[in-house]
Protein backbone atom coordinates (compact mmCIF):
# COMPACT_ATOMS: atom_id res chain seq x y z
CA UNK A 1 0.00 0.00 0.00
CA UNK A 2 2.75 2.39 1.05
CA UNK A 3 4.84 1.37 -1.90
CA UNK A 4 1.99 2.06 -4.35
CA UNK A 5 1.48 5.49 -2.79
CA UNK A 6 5.19 6.13 -3.27
CA UNK A 7 4.87 4.96 -6.88
CA UNK A 8 1.98 7.38 -7.41
CA UNK A 9 4.03 10.23 -6.00
CA UNK A 10 6.98 9.26 -8.17
CA UNK A 11 4.76 9.23 -11.25
CA UNK A 12 3.43 12.67 -10.41
CA UNK A 13 6.95 13.93 -9.88
CA UNK A 14 8.14 12.52 -13.21
CA UNK A 15 5.09 13.95 -14.97
CA UNK A 16 5.83 17.31 -13.36
CA UNK A 17 9.44 17.27 -14.54
CA UNK A 18 8.33 16.35 -18.06
CA UNK A 19 5.78 19.15 -18.10
CA UNK A 20 8.40 21.64 -16.91
CA UNK A 21 10.75 20.38 -19.64
CA UNK A 22 8.04 20.92 -22.22
CA UNK A 23 7.47 24.45 -21.02
CA UNK A 24 11.19 25.18 -21.17
CA UNK A 25 11.24 23.82 -24.70
CA UNK A 26 8.36 26.15 -25.64
CA UNK A 27 10.25 29.11 -24.28
CA UNK A 28 13.28 28.21 -26.39
CA UNK A 29 11.21 28.22 -29.59
CA UNK A 30 8.43 30.76 -29.16
CA UNK A 31 7.43 30.91 -32.82
CA UNK A 32 4.22 29.50 -34.26
CA UNK A 33 5.24 30.08 -37.89
CA UNK A 34 8.19 28.36 -39.57
CA UNK A 35 11.48 29.62 -38.11
CA UNK A 36 13.91 30.38 -40.97
CA UNK A 37 16.53 32.23 -38.89
CA UNK A 38 19.95 31.55 -40.36
CA UNK A 39 18.49 29.71 -43.37
CA UNK A 40 17.71 32.67 -45.61
CA UNK A 41 19.85 35.73 -46.41
CA UNK A 42 19.16 39.22 -45.02
CA UNK A 43 16.69 41.41 -46.88
CA UNK A 44 18.40 43.16 -49.79
CA UNK A 45 16.97 44.75 -52.92
CA UNK A 46 17.01 47.78 -55.20
CA UNK A 47 13.50 48.57 -56.46
CA UNK A 48 10.97 51.38 -57.06
CA UNK A 49 8.18 51.97 -54.54
CA UNK A 50 4.56 52.82 -55.37
CA UNK A 51 5.34 56.54 -55.10
CA UNK A 52 7.92 56.16 -57.88
CA UNK A 53 10.87 56.51 -55.47
CA UNK A 54 14.01 54.35 -55.75
CA UNK A 55 14.32 52.32 -52.57
CA UNK A 56 16.57 49.66 -51.05
CA UNK A 57 16.12 47.30 -48.10
CA UNK A 58 17.95 49.85 -45.92
CA UNK A 59 14.94 52.18 -46.24
CA UNK A 60 12.89 49.69 -44.20
CA UNK A 61 15.40 49.04 -41.42
CA UNK A 62 13.68 49.62 -38.10
CA UNK A 63 10.49 47.99 -39.38
CA UNK A 64 9.53 44.34 -39.30
CA UNK A 65 8.90 43.53 -42.98
CA UNK A 66 6.63 40.97 -44.60
CA UNK A 67 7.83 40.18 -48.12
CA UNK A 68 5.23 38.82 -50.52
CA UNK A 69 5.51 38.29 -54.28
CA UNK A 70 2.42 38.81 -56.42
CA UNK A 71 0.88 40.89 -59.20
CA UNK A 72 -2.13 43.14 -59.47
CA UNK A 73 -3.84 41.17 -62.28
CA UNK A 74 -4.13 38.23 -59.88
CA UNK A 75 -7.83 38.32 -58.92
CA UNK A 76 -7.99 35.58 -56.31
CA UNK A 77 -5.01 34.48 -54.19
CA UNK A 78 -3.06 37.78 -54.00
CA UNK A 79 -6.06 39.84 -52.81
CA UNK A 80 -7.00 37.08 -50.38
CA UNK A 81 -3.49 37.14 -48.87
CA UNK A 82 -3.45 40.94 -48.63
CA UNK A 83 -6.96 40.94 -47.08
CA UNK A 84 -5.71 38.42 -44.48
CA UNK A 85 -2.71 40.62 -43.74
CA UNK A 86 -4.99 43.66 -43.47
CA UNK A 87 -6.92 41.92 -40.66
CA UNK A 88 -3.61 40.96 -39.00
CA UNK A 89 -2.50 44.62 -39.10
CA UNK A 90 -5.85 45.77 -37.69
CA UNK A 91 -5.64 43.27 -34.85
CA UNK A 92 -2.05 44.32 -34.06
CA UNK A 93 -3.37 47.83 -33.39
CA UNK A 94 -0.65 50.42 -32.71
CA UNK A 95 2.07 47.76 -33.03
CA UNK A 96 1.29 47.55 -36.76
CA UNK A 97 3.15 50.86 -37.18
CA UNK A 98 6.31 48.82 -36.63
CA UNK A 99 5.58 46.64 -39.67
CA UNK A 100 5.51 47.03 -43.46
CA UNK A 101 4.05 44.63 -46.00
CA UNK A 102 6.29 44.68 -49.08
CA UNK A 103 4.21 43.54 -52.06
CA UNK A 104 6.77 42.89 -54.80
CA UNK A 105 5.33 42.66 -58.31
CA UNK A 106 6.47 39.71 -60.43
CA UNK A 107 4.73 41.42 -63.38
CA UNK A 108 6.65 44.69 -63.80
CA UNK A 109 5.47 45.05 -67.42
CA UNK A 110 1.92 45.82 -66.24
CA UNK A 111 2.51 46.90 -62.64
CA UNK A 112 3.51 50.55 -62.81
CA UNK A 113 4.09 52.44 -59.53
CA UNK A 114 0.71 54.19 -60.09
CA UNK A 115 -1.19 50.91 -60.50
CA UNK A 116 0.61 49.45 -57.48
CA UNK A 117 -0.22 52.51 -55.41
CA UNK A 118 -3.95 52.22 -56.12
CA UNK A 119 -3.77 48.50 -55.43
CA UNK A 120 -1.77 48.75 -52.18
CA UNK A 121 -3.92 51.49 -50.66
CA UNK A 122 -7.10 49.50 -51.41
CA UNK A 123 -5.91 46.90 -48.89
CA UNK A 124 -4.01 48.49 -46.02
CA UNK A 125 -1.97 51.58 -45.19
CA UNK A 126 0.99 49.34 -44.21
CA UNK A 127 1.27 47.84 -47.70
CA UNK A 128 4.08 49.14 -49.92
CA UNK A 129 3.96 48.15 -53.58
CA UNK A 130 7.39 47.53 -55.13
CA UNK A 131 8.30 47.10 -58.77
CA UNK A 132 11.44 47.60 -60.84
CA UNK A 133 13.67 46.24 -63.56
CA UNK A 134 12.88 42.59 -64.38
CA UNK A 135 16.48 41.62 -63.52
CA UNK A 136 16.25 43.25 -60.07
CA UNK A 137 12.94 41.50 -59.33
CA UNK A 138 14.33 38.19 -60.50
CA UNK A 139 17.38 38.65 -58.30
CA UNK A 140 15.13 39.16 -55.28
CA UNK A 141 12.92 36.14 -56.01
CA UNK A 142 16.02 33.97 -56.55
CA UNK A 143 17.52 35.21 -53.27
CA UNK A 144 14.53 33.69 -51.46
CA UNK A 145 14.11 30.74 -53.85
CA UNK A 146 10.67 32.05 -54.76
CA UNK A 147 9.88 30.85 -58.27
CA UNK A 148 7.60 32.63 -60.67
CA UNK A 149 6.72 32.12 -64.33
CA UNK A 150 4.57 33.82 -66.92
CA UNK A 151 1.86 31.52 -68.24
CA UNK A 152 1.03 31.40 -71.99
CA UNK A 153 -1.01 34.36 -73.24
CA UNK A 154 -4.77 33.97 -73.34
CA UNK A 155 -7.18 35.58 -75.78
CA UNK A 156 -7.10 39.37 -75.72
CA UNK A 157 -3.42 39.47 -74.79
CA UNK A 158 -4.00 38.88 -71.06
CA UNK A 159 -1.88 36.39 -69.14
CA UNK A 160 -1.48 34.89 -65.69
CA UNK A 161 1.67 34.60 -63.62
CA UNK A 162 2.14 31.65 -61.32
CA UNK A 163 4.21 32.55 -58.29
CA UNK A 164 5.43 31.50 -54.88
CA UNK A 165 2.79 32.17 -52.23
CA UNK A 166 5.08 32.34 -49.17
CA UNK A 167 5.28 35.38 -46.88
CA UNK A 168 8.89 35.98 -45.74
CA UNK A 169 9.16 37.86 -42.45
CA UNK A 170 12.27 39.88 -41.54
CA UNK A 171 13.07 41.54 -38.21
CA UNK A 172 13.83 45.25 -37.79
CA UNK A 173 17.49 44.56 -38.64
CA UNK A 174 16.60 42.93 -41.95
CA UNK A 175 17.40 39.39 -40.79
CA UNK A 176 15.17 36.63 -42.20
CA UNK A 177 13.21 35.15 -39.30
CA UNK A 178 9.94 33.47 -40.24
CA UNK A 179 8.05 32.01 -43.18
CA UNK A 180 4.24 32.06 -43.35
CA UNK A 181 1.89 30.66 -45.97
CA UNK A 182 -1.51 32.11 -46.95
CA UNK A 183 -3.09 29.09 -45.23
CA UNK A 184 -1.55 29.93 -41.85
CA UNK A 185 -4.10 31.12 -39.28
CA UNK A 186 -4.16 34.84 -38.56
CA UNK A 187 -3.64 34.05 -34.87
CA UNK A 188 -0.22 32.57 -35.64
CA UNK A 189 0.84 35.66 -37.60
CA UNK A 190 -0.46 37.98 -34.88
CA UNK A 191 1.31 36.00 -32.14
CA UNK A 192 4.67 35.98 -33.92
CA UNK A 193 4.51 39.55 -35.25
CA UNK A 194 3.54 40.80 -31.80
CA UNK A 195 6.66 39.17 -30.40
CA UNK A 196 8.93 40.26 -33.24
CA UNK A 197 7.77 43.89 -33.26
CA UNK A 198 7.63 44.39 -29.49
CA UNK A 199 11.05 42.85 -28.85
CA UNK A 200 12.75 44.53 -31.79
CA UNK A 201 13.86 41.11 -33.06
CA UNK A 202 15.64 40.10 -29.83
CA UNK A 203 14.33 36.52 -29.22
Amino acid sequence: MKLSRFAQLACLLIAGIMLAACQRHDQAAPWQLTDISGHMPDLSFRLTDDQGKNVTAADYRGKVTLLYFGYTHCPDVCPLTLAHLHVVMQRLGKLADGARILFVSVDPARDTPEALHAYATAFDSHVVGLTGAPADIEALTKRYRAAFSREPDKSGGSYDVSHSSGIYIFDANGHARLLATPEDAQDKLIHDLHLLISTGGAP
Binding site: T72, H73, C74, P75, D76, V77, P79, L80, L82, A83, H84, H86, V87, E114, A115, A118, Y119, A122, F123, D124, A147, F148, E151, K154, G156, S158, D160, S162, H163, S164, S165, G166, T181, P182
Partner: protein
Protein backbone atom coordinates in the same frame (compact mmCIF):
# COMPACT_ATOMS: atom_id res chain seq x y z
CA UNK B 1 -55.70 9.43 -84.91
CA UNK B 2 -52.04 8.47 -84.65
CA UNK B 3 -51.11 12.12 -84.83
CA UNK B 4 -53.60 12.88 -82.06
CA UNK B 5 -52.08 10.25 -79.75
CA UNK B 6 -48.61 11.63 -80.35
CA UNK B 7 -49.76 15.11 -79.42
CA UNK B 8 -51.37 13.82 -76.23
CA UNK B 9 -48.22 11.99 -75.24
CA UNK B 10 -46.17 15.09 -75.88
CA UNK B 11 -48.54 17.23 -73.78
CA UNK B 12 -48.31 14.69 -70.94
CA UNK B 13 -44.52 14.94 -71.01
CA UNK B 14 -44.43 18.73 -71.12
CA UNK B 15 -44.63 19.39 -67.35
CA UNK B 16 -41.76 16.93 -66.80
CA UNK B 17 -39.59 18.68 -69.34
CA UNK B 18 -40.50 22.07 -67.93
CA UNK B 19 -39.39 21.03 -64.43
CA UNK B 20 -36.18 19.40 -65.49
CA UNK B 21 -34.03 22.47 -66.15
CA UNK B 22 -30.77 22.53 -64.22
CA UNK B 23 -31.16 26.16 -63.17
CA UNK B 24 -34.44 25.32 -61.42
CA UNK B 25 -32.75 22.98 -58.99
CA UNK B 26 -29.88 25.34 -58.09
CA UNK B 27 -29.96 27.83 -55.24
CA UNK B 28 -27.25 30.51 -55.26
CA UNK B 29 -26.32 32.33 -52.05
CA UNK B 30 -23.67 34.68 -50.59
CA UNK B 31 -22.68 35.93 -54.03
CA UNK B 32 -20.04 38.67 -54.01
CA UNK B 33 -17.23 40.20 -56.04
CA UNK B 34 -13.97 41.51 -54.58
CA UNK B 35 -13.66 45.07 -55.88
CA UNK B 36 -10.20 46.03 -57.17
CA UNK B 37 -9.00 49.44 -58.38
CA UNK B 38 -7.85 50.54 -61.87
CA UNK B 39 -10.13 48.14 -63.74
CA UNK B 40 -8.18 45.07 -62.60
CA UNK B 41 -9.65 41.59 -63.06
CA UNK B 42 -11.85 40.74 -60.08
CA UNK B 43 -12.79 37.47 -58.37
CA UNK B 44 -16.44 36.48 -58.01
CA UNK B 45 -17.67 34.06 -55.35
CA UNK B 46 -20.95 32.24 -54.70
CA UNK B 47 -22.28 29.14 -53.00
CA UNK B 48 -24.26 26.87 -55.35
CA UNK B 49 -26.58 24.28 -53.86
CA UNK B 50 -28.21 21.61 -55.97
CA UNK B 51 -31.53 20.52 -54.50
CA UNK B 52 -32.26 18.18 -57.38
CA UNK B 53 -31.85 14.42 -57.70
CA UNK B 54 -29.50 14.77 -60.66
CA UNK B 55 -26.13 16.48 -61.11
CA UNK B 56 -26.01 20.00 -62.52
CA UNK B 57 -23.18 21.36 -64.66
CA UNK B 58 -22.20 25.00 -64.80
CA UNK B 59 -20.54 25.69 -68.15
CA UNK B 60 -20.13 29.48 -68.32
CA UNK B 61 -21.21 32.83 -66.93
CA UNK B 62 -21.70 36.33 -68.29
CA UNK B 63 -22.62 39.79 -67.07
CA UNK B 64 -23.56 43.06 -68.71
CA UNK B 65 -21.21 44.75 -66.18
CA UNK B 66 -18.05 42.96 -67.41
CA UNK B 67 -16.81 42.26 -70.93
CA UNK B 68 -15.55 38.84 -69.90
CA UNK B 69 -16.45 36.33 -67.18
CA UNK B 70 -14.50 33.09 -66.90
CA UNK B 71 -14.69 30.07 -64.65
CA UNK B 72 -11.31 29.60 -62.91
CA UNK B 73 -9.64 27.53 -60.28
CA UNK B 74 -6.67 28.62 -58.15
CA UNK B 75 -4.32 25.94 -56.97
CA UNK B 76 -1.10 25.73 -55.02
CA UNK B 77 1.44 23.02 -55.79
CA UNK B 78 3.62 21.23 -53.24
CA UNK B 79 6.40 23.78 -53.66
CA UNK B 80 4.01 26.55 -52.59
CA UNK B 81 3.60 28.05 -56.05
CA UNK B 82 0.12 29.32 -56.70
CA UNK B 83 -1.45 29.59 -60.12
CA UNK B 84 -4.79 29.64 -61.90
CA UNK B 85 -6.37 27.65 -64.68
CA UNK B 86 -9.60 27.94 -66.61
CA UNK B 87 -12.38 25.39 -66.16
CA UNK B 88 -14.64 24.16 -68.99
CA UNK B 89 -17.29 23.04 -66.56
CA UNK B 90 -18.08 22.71 -62.89
CA UNK B 91 -20.38 19.93 -61.72
CA UNK B 92 -22.57 20.25 -58.65
CA UNK B 93 -23.58 16.74 -57.55
CA UNK B 94 -27.18 15.79 -56.81
CA UNK B 95 -28.20 17.11 -53.39
CA UNK B 96 -24.71 18.55 -53.15
CA UNK B 97 -23.07 21.94 -52.89
CA UNK B 98 -20.05 23.63 -54.46
CA UNK B 99 -18.55 26.80 -53.04
CA UNK B 100 -16.84 29.27 -55.32
CA UNK B 101 -14.60 30.74 -52.63
CA UNK B 102 -11.22 32.56 -52.38
CA UNK B 103 -8.20 30.38 -53.24
CA UNK B 104 -10.38 27.81 -55.03
CA UNK B 105 -13.09 27.93 -57.68
CA UNK B 106 -14.01 31.48 -58.68
CA UNK B 107 -15.34 33.62 -61.49
CA UNK B 108 -12.71 35.86 -63.05
CA UNK B 109 -14.45 39.05 -64.20
CA UNK B 110 -12.57 41.37 -66.55
CA UNK B 111 -13.06 44.83 -68.04
CA UNK B 112 -15.95 46.57 -66.32
CA UNK B 113 -18.43 48.11 -68.75
CA UNK B 114 -19.48 50.84 -66.31
CA UNK B 115 -17.87 52.17 -63.10
CA UNK B 116 -18.47 50.00 -60.04
CA UNK B 117 -17.85 50.64 -56.37
CA UNK B 118 -18.17 48.65 -53.15
CA UNK B 119 -21.82 48.47 -52.11
CA UNK B 120 -23.12 48.13 -55.69
CA UNK B 121 -24.93 44.98 -56.79
CA UNK B 122 -24.58 43.60 -60.31
CA UNK B 123 -26.27 40.72 -62.12
CA UNK B 124 -24.33 37.68 -63.30
CA UNK B 125 -25.98 35.00 -65.43
CA UNK B 126 -24.89 31.43 -64.81
CA UNK B 127 -25.28 29.11 -67.80
CA UNK B 128 -25.87 25.40 -67.33
CA UNK B 129 -25.19 22.43 -69.61
CA UNK B 130 -28.85 21.95 -70.55
CA UNK B 131 -29.10 25.51 -71.84
CA UNK B 132 -30.88 26.88 -68.77
CA UNK B 133 -29.75 30.09 -67.04
CA UNK B 134 -29.79 31.48 -63.53
CA UNK B 135 -29.58 35.22 -62.88
CA UNK B 136 -27.71 35.92 -59.62
CA UNK B 137 -27.18 39.30 -57.90
CA UNK B 138 -23.54 39.74 -56.81
CA UNK B 139 -22.63 42.31 -54.14
CA UNK B 140 -19.45 44.34 -54.81
CA UNK B 141 -17.38 44.28 -51.61
CA UNK B 142 -14.15 46.17 -50.71
CA UNK B 143 -10.76 44.82 -51.81
CA UNK B 144 -9.73 43.97 -48.25
CA UNK B 145 -12.84 41.92 -47.43
CA UNK B 146 -11.70 38.91 -45.41
CA UNK B 147 -14.00 35.98 -44.82
Amino acid sequence: MKRHAFLLAWLALLPLIAHATQSDQVKASQAWIRWLPVNLPAGGYVILENHGASAVTLISAQSTSYASVMLHESSTDQAGNSGMHMLDRLTIPAHGKVALAPAGYHLMLQQVTHPLKPGDTIEVTLNFADGSHLQVPFLIRPANTDN
